[in-house]
Amino acid sequence: MSDFFSLQDKTIVISGASSGIGKSCAELCAASGAKLILLGRDISKLESAFQEFKFKEKPLFLELDITSEDDVNQLSKTLIEKDIKISGFVHSAGLKHTLPLKNTGTKVLSESFTVNVFSGFYLARAFSQKKIKADNQSFVFISSIAGVVGEPANLAYSATKGALISGTKSLALELAKQKTRVNCVSPAMVNTPLSEKMFDNIGEEATKNILDKHPLGIGNPEDVAKSVVFLLSEGSSWITGTNLIVDGGYSAH
């Protein structure tokens, strides 16, 4: 039996790779044989995140502001010039504000949508171009269980993650004919710098409530990355437009 879950000979781009789920995706994709292009706003932070990790082939680290259409257009030009074909893209860049409705205004909403949603769509647009796409292609947006079920003080974040889930379905239909599959992964709470910051913010009682809602406990970034590798691989060749929930049972209640 061939190895359906290998990423050998595939070039995968990952946004938000310097920490948390994005970093874990990068490590697991590399271990599965992929060549990597890692995007970050701060290249030194990105490179230092992988100082300890032994890559068979060193990733291409690219510094760019993914919220800037100009920067993303420039990335397209670079890829075309270097004749690099993209097999997969993981949009893991994201930010989260834990704020009640009354404190959720233009600044918070705009920043959340720009980073969590718009940048992912700019990058998907770039990589789906004929000159850049590989024959078979897979995009994976890291959404969240908050895009499916509600949480107090989480309006901006959950709205952006819901937008990724619904946007994924339209993109999946639009890009199916060019053999680009588009899916979401929706994790519940995993141990990342973002979640640690949130636990600090919401306090012990609310933290305990969240922990109690995960039958399999809080996840690790690798738990999510494994599902991402599956969706990037040929093992998921007939899957598009879905939202794969990876939540330790959080939403089974």
């Binding site: 704020l99 009640p100 107090p152 003080a153 600090d200 913010n201 919401i202 306090g203 609310a206």
Partner: protein, 77 residues
């Protein structure tokens, strides 16, 4: 910011009908809950550029104590 303005803004932020004083205890306020704490954190961040988290609120009970946490240098009187 002077104390009076702070008390008024705080009252507005917490959506309280009654005037607040330095001695007002947060837990005795009608609308005070975990959302209020998040709201106060955002208010203090915006008004004083000071980042607090919910842990800080465990140790304070009155408005006076909140002002001490924010720092006397941030108040004109």
């Amino acid at each position: 910011m002077n104390t009076q303005t702070f008390l008024e803004k705080l009252q507005d932020e917490l959506e309280e009908d009654n005037t607040l004083t330095l001695e007002t205890k947060f837990k005795e306020l009608e609308n005070y809950d975990s959302m209020s704490v998040l709201s106060l954190i955002a208010f203090i961040d915006e008004s004083f550029d000071k980042s607090l988290d919910t842990k800080h609120f465990k140790d304070i009970s009155t408005v006076q104590e909140l002002m001490e946490l924010i720092g006397s240098e941030n108040f004109e009187d």
